[in-house]
């Protein structure tokens, strides 16, 4: 069996979780609680194993032949268009499936513990598996259309998983919001596909690689920007990022898997995959870079003041995704991929940690009522702290290498404005992550305020997962901190939750070594090189330049950490007051409300847009259009009623009618005869 034959079996990878979906959907109830989770996890684990096999198989090929397409069947044969349902294996897709299956498996495992006691346990895992399958189809697809299938599939799963606790209104709304925002992106994706068919004549990536360079600039820019719109939606870039913070209404494993590690990076994947269009356009790249940079900065600033443990992470994710887009916009696709991998590890760890904290705090997510938890949850705290250092860019952790490469690339391409933005965002990152870590695990134990109080009868404790409170656990900026409701001290999580955190934390520490910024040690870059052949790379002019830029990065990170340390070292003196709010004043409110973008949109939607639609449906449709229809009927009726009045019942008037007829006919005769 040759390597290529082996690679033809790549379909097994998405098929495994898909099998899980079928099994769990139809038999989930019967399988019951822990087993359903184990089935899902095992299947994804097997997929990971098979991904490793695929990786090895691909590795065994010479590096310029590391691509293999397997067509399963003809999906859409319409007219001159033939779209196959096919899978493409190349270094890019292999990287992503390793990531998806690997991180996915860990988070599945984590979810077994996290979702314990949930009434819809098996369904949750069915959705998770469906998500994994969709994501795998997305990255393995051999054409835009197959990718789009996965693209929409992950959107669907995102919707279902965010709304998993649909009893909570906010969860339901958040799911809807996510889907709709993604649809706005899909609008771009679909139009881009039409453009591609119209210009390239095929949706296959192979055809794209061949022909993209030969297209007119306007066309290729239009394609690139429309695709980019899709990426913006999926990867929560400005201005479509609004759904991601709300998506935190979903269970935390979902946030970790979908809204941090994998799905949101699909936009980056698509940028990488469709880079020939972007490269051919050039202008589109500039747009990508600036949108990415702006997102990194603005989302970072919003994260500064958020009181909710998950929301900080959500805005952080948006910000980090901005870095990845910035990298793509600079043409540093390998750097973007590197960042994706590193981010998946450390952000995954952070989310899992946050989940554990929330779990251990009776669903409380408010940073202001935590503090000092490291004593109660030592493993969790350990993993979280490692990831915090990684994301803050402390060498030699993975975050340092990944982020530093992007920031440096901005410098190398002489986009100094971008470089400054990137550096500023890095400072923000260091600050808000430090703030979160300190408020959670260090400082005064603010949750204790409740422990002294009357113990609340605890008969709900056993089944607090079963009954979902209709109030959202996430905390909006400006909402007063809730009274702590803990009736016992926080506790460490079971091993199913701790183990994945620790493994991911280790990866977050170590994964940076796959792409060290030294010649011959850039394993990842070289591995991906066949995919991005033809893309100009920028490197440091000299070792000194590179080294000094690194120093700048680290310094900036340390400054951010230092600021946060001075403010939050002892936690909060008063849990109602965040000192940062006082220092920043009105700017804090601006940050806290995310520049009022959500408010503005929702005010517009519930205000003028909604009343316009209301007018359309109640006045225009019913009164004007239907009114015209009924008006015709009424017209006839009015005519009938007036004609009916003529029929007086008086025979003499009837005779008058006859005479009138006589007079008219004779008049006609006169006209006819011509007198």
């Amino acid at each position: 069996m040759s390597a290529r034959d082996l690679l033809d079996t790549v379909w097994i990878i998405p098929a495994l979780p898909l099998l899980g979906v079928v099994v769990l959907l139809f038999l989930g109830k019967r399988i019951g609680e822990p087993k359903a989770g184990w089935i899902a996890t095992t299947l994804l684990g097997l997929a990971f194993a098979w991904s490793v096999v695929m990786f090895a198989a691909l590795l065994s090929l010479p590096d310029n032949a590391r691509t293999n397409t397997v067509n399963l069947f003809t999906w859409l044969p319409a007219g001159a268009l033939k779209v196959s349902f096919g899978f493409l294996t190349d270094p890019l897709s292999i990287t992503w499936i390793l990531l998806v299956t690997g991180v996915g498996s860990l988070i599945h495992l984590y979810a077994i513990g996290y979702m314990h006691g949930d009434p819809r346990f098996s369904r949750f895992f069915a959705y998770l598996n469906l998500f994994a399958a969709s994501m795998l189809i997305l990255v393995l697809g051999s054409s835009f259309l197959v990718t789009f299938l996965g693209w929409e599939g992950v959107g669907l799963c995102s919707y279902l998983l965010i709304s998993h606790w649909f009893e909570r209104e906010r969860a339901a709304i958040a799911g809807k919001k996510a889907f709709v925002a993604n649809r706005v992106g899909d609008f771009g994706f679909m139009l881009a596909m039409f453009f591609i068919i119209g210009s390239v004549g095929s949706l296959d990536y192979a055809a794209m690689n061949l022909k993209a360079g030969g297209l007119a600039h306007t066309t290729v820019t239009a394609i690139a920007l429309l695709l980019f719109l899709g990426c913006v939606g999926k990867s929560a870039q400005i201005p479509l990022h609004v759904w991601l913070p709300d998506a935190m209404e979903g269970p935390t494993p979902v946030s970790a898997l979908i809204h941090a590690a994998t799905m949101v990076t699909a936009g980056v994947y698509l940028l990488c995959r469709a880079h020939p269009f972007f490269e051919a356009s050039g202008d589109a790249l500039t747009v990508v870079a600036w949108v990415g940079a702006a997102t990194a900065l603005l989302a970072g600033s919003v994260a500064l003041v958020q009181p909710d443990i998950k929301r900080v992470l959500a805005y952080s994710t948006v910000s980090q995704l901005g870095y990845m887009f910035l990298a793509c916009g600079l043409g540093a696709y390998q750097a973007a991929v590197f960042m994706v991998i590193a981010h998946a590890c450390y952000k995954g760890t952070l989310f899992l940690g946050a989940g554990s904290v929330i779990h251990g705090n009776k669903d409380n997510q408010d940073l202001r009522t935590m503090g000092g938890l490291r004593k109660f949850m030592p493993f969790t705290a350990f993993a979280f702290i490692l990831a915090w250092l990684a994301i803050s860019g402390i060498p030699p952790l993975s975050g340092f290498f990944a982020k530093d490469e992007i920031i440096s690339d901005a410098f190398y391409t002489s986009d100094y404005a971008l470089w400054i933005v990137a550096v500023a965002a890095a400072a923000l990152t260091a600050f808000y992550m430090t703030r979160e870590t300190l408020l959670t695990f260090f400082g005064n134990e603010r949750f204790r305020a409740a422990l002294g109080a009357d113990p609340v009868p605890d008969h709900h404790a056993e089944e607090h997962h079963h009954e979902i409170s209709p109030i959202s656990p996430t905390v909006d900026y400006g909402r007063p901190a809730p009274e702590p409701a803990l009736t016992e001290e926080p506790h460490e999580m079971p091993w199913t939750m701790v183990l994945p955190s620790l493994v991911l934390a280790m990866l977050a520490v170590a994964i940076g070594f796959v792409n060290l910024p030294f010649t011959n040690l850039e394993f990842l870059t070289e591995w991906l090189d066949p995919v991005f052949r033809g893309v100009t790379e920028h490197g440091p002019d000299s070792f000194v330049q590179g080294a000094s830029l690194d120093v700048v990065s680290v310094t900036i990170a340390l400054i951010g950490i230092g600021f946060a340390w001075t403010i939050y070292r002892r936690g909060l003196a008063d849990r109602r007051v965040d000192p940062l709010d006082q220092r920043l004043g009105p700017i804090a409110r601006l940050f806290g409300h995310a520049y009022y973008l959500d408010d503005g949109v929702s005010r517009a939607v519930s205000g003028p847009i909604r009343s316009a639609a209301e007018w359309l449906s109640s006045t225009f449709d019913l009164k004007i259009i239907d009114g015209a229809v009924n008006g015709i009927a009424r017209l006839f009726r009015t005519a009938a009623l007036s004609l009916r009045k003529v029929q007086t019942g008086l025979v003499r008037q009837y005779a008058l009618g006859i005479v009138l007829g006589v007079a008219l006919l004779l008049l006609y005769a006169l006209a006819r005869v011509g007198i």
């Binding site: 008058l656 005479v659 007079a663 008049l667």
Partner: protein, 201 residues
């Protein structure tokens, strides 16, 4: 010239009496004026070489039909002066106007010489043997044999109709099996779904 005078005299009488029929307030007077019209017209028939028709006009029309009218007037006891006030709005002016218009139209259409047809060769007014009576008879029994026969049915019908309708019904007047509150029903009636109901939501 004599003919001329007779014609105008008769025309004036006929038209005047005709107007009288319309304007007389007592139906008996109308009937009597109708007789006058009929006799004046009979004279005109004589002017037109229609002797038989003139005779029949007097005998049948004046003698039978108008008498029938008078008979019914008396039978029903409506031989009294009635109000001439018009209760229906615009009926009179409209009737007058339309009548005059229609008349004017006919006259305009007819122009100066009404008849445009070629003279009939076969059944001329004076052709053939015999007098006017015989010639009319010949026409009736040859040309118009079929309608002539059909009129017999007409007369039978008239007889039956008269008998059937004028026969006493056996019910006292003004008591109607069905009439109970008929007027009421006719006005504020409960109707089916009106067009409004089915056209508007």
């Amino acid at each position: 010239m004599v003919e001329f005078v007779i014609f105008f005299l008769m025309a004036a009488v006929a038209l005047g009496a005709g107007l009288g029929v319309v304007l007389a307030r007592n139906p008996v007077h109308s009937a009597l004026l109708l007789v006058t019209v009929l006799i004046a017209i009979a004279v005109m028939f004589l002017l037109q070489d229609a002797q038989l028709v003139a005779a029949v006009q007097v005998i049948v029309y004046a003698g039978a039909i108008v008498v029938l009218f008078l008979f019914v007037i008396m039978l029903l006891g409506v031989d009294q002066i009635e109000s001439m006030r018009e209760t229906v709005r615009f009926q009179r002016p409209a009737a007058l106007a339309l009548g005059v218009i229609a008349l004017a139209e006919v006259l305009f259409l007819a122009g100066h010489h009404w008849a445009t047809g070629a003279k009939s060769a076969s059944s001329g007014l004076h052709a053939g043997a015999g007098g006017n009576i015989e010639r009319v008879a010949r026409s009736l029994f040859t040309d118009y044999l079929w309608p002539f026969e059909v009129t017999s049915v007409l007369l039978v019908v008239a007889v039956i109709g008269g008998v059937v309708l004028a026969r006493r019904s056996g019910l006292p007047p003004d008591v109607d099996l069905s009439e109970g509150g008929e007027e009421d029903v006719a006005r504020g009636e409960d109707t089916g779904p009106t067009a409004d109901e089915v056209t508007t939501p």
